[in-house]
Symmetry: C2
Subunit: 242 residues, 2 copies
């Protein structure tokens, strides 16, 4: 199981934000080293969303020594070393690599985030087992504490979330018969509107490419087919002088 540890944060709001992200991504064990006061009427609880009911009140305060002795710790930092000549912050994993690295390991692991302005110190990182760093722009790679934690938890979701909110089928494409039916109707439509015969092949190919990229659902294919059919009928009736 994966826990989240926050070392020496000063803003209660950040602790609340992290608690909420934990709940969003299926984690519930929040560890706090030297936390700010978390007033139930203050920003920590204000920012925690539904995590105010469980993650935040159940947070455990512990010492840094307890943290590193009880958990396999992964220190998160924006600032890494550049190569193997310094090893406090090198080698390191990206959050996506960390998720792959931890897959299948059930023992207690804590991802650890440092204080707002300066993150984790070299002395703190030196005592941790692994290092993780979020790729960001070279000009300004230092994320807000709450944002950094959210990205790491998001990447760990396959390890921690048992069921996501999305339907299994995120994009149910129409069966090919329905799509070919739409294409046939489009060709009829071109006839109906009197599109020059020699240009119909080209227009049909263009239409096939647009629809091919769009992967329409069954409902979309049926509805569009109906609209083109209706347009043809309307033209026919109008031309029959009805």
């Amino acid at each position: 199981m994966v826990a989240v540890a926050v070392v020496d944060a000063t803003e209660p709001g950040n602790v609340g934000t992290i608690a909420r992200s934990m709940k969003n991504f299926g984690l519930d064990e929040l560890l706090l080293v030297d936390p700010p006061e978390l007033d139930p009427d203050g920003e920590a609880y204000g920012f925690a969303g539904q995590a105010r009911e469980d993650v935040l009140p159940n947070a455990r305060e512990l010492t840094f020594d307890e943290l590193v002795s009880e958990y396999h710790t992964v220190g998160c930092t924006a600032i890494t070393n550049e190569d193997a000549t310094k090893h406090v912050r090198y080698p390191f994993l990206t959050p996506a690599e960390l998720a792959a690295d931890l897959r299948g390991i059930e023992s207690e692991t804590a991802v650890v985030f440092g204080r707002e302005r300066v993150g984790l110190t070299n002395d703190e990182l030196a005592r941790m087992d692994q290092v993780c760093s979020i790729p960001a722009t070279d000009d300004y790679p230092v994320l807000n504490l709450g944002q950094a934690a959210t990205i790491v938890l998001y990447e760990l979701r396959d390890l921690t979330v048992s069921e996501i909110q999305h339907p299994e089928d995120r994009h149910e494409r129409a069966d090919q018969q329905a799509i070919e039916g739409l294409h046939d109707q489009f060709e009829t439509f071109l006839e109906d509107i009197g599109h020059p015969e020699e240009k119909r092949g080209k227009a049909s190919r263009l239409w096939r490419r647009v629809i091919g990229r769009a992967h329409p659902t069954g409902r979309e294919a049926r509805t569009l087919r109906g609209i083109f059919r209706k347009a043809g009928q309307r033209i026919e009736r109008a031309e029959d002088g009805e």
Copy 2:
């Protein structure tokens, strides 16, 4: 290019947080529909980090009509439809899929985030070109506004960040010769400490597995080799009665 639009946010701090994440991930075009007041001494600027210098003061206020008519809009929402019978929020892409989907498209695109409590309305989403939804836990999939935006921008980084802060070589493994040298030294060390000859093969294999998974750097392999050599020498000298 990718812009970020925030519709009807009420908390200046969230706008500032989003501006900072934009700067972290190489974006600079912030579009605001019905924004709260952004006081230069208030939370928007307080949370913006270095984005207070550029992204935030350069934000453009525009109407929702202007947004959807000027940009290809991707509406972000935690709550999706379940299947193709309703199409306001279906089909949708995850942020990672959106990044793949937009690759190679240079025309103006805006990822759009809604107000804090209820996100984007159905009427708003209906006017947008695509839908994106972050996978989170089914129990509580609604992220804080700033966290949701950060995850989407993080996933789009390959399209927007020209140079990340990490060295190209995130993990420089020692060449195989150095690693074999370490293994040879470990075997010598087993001899030096008098580890039973019949158990040495098994201990060496165990050691090879540990080191194989750890992918040591050149410095790590050399340093460990030196430590085992030194231990052997110390034993030898001690046993010689020096």
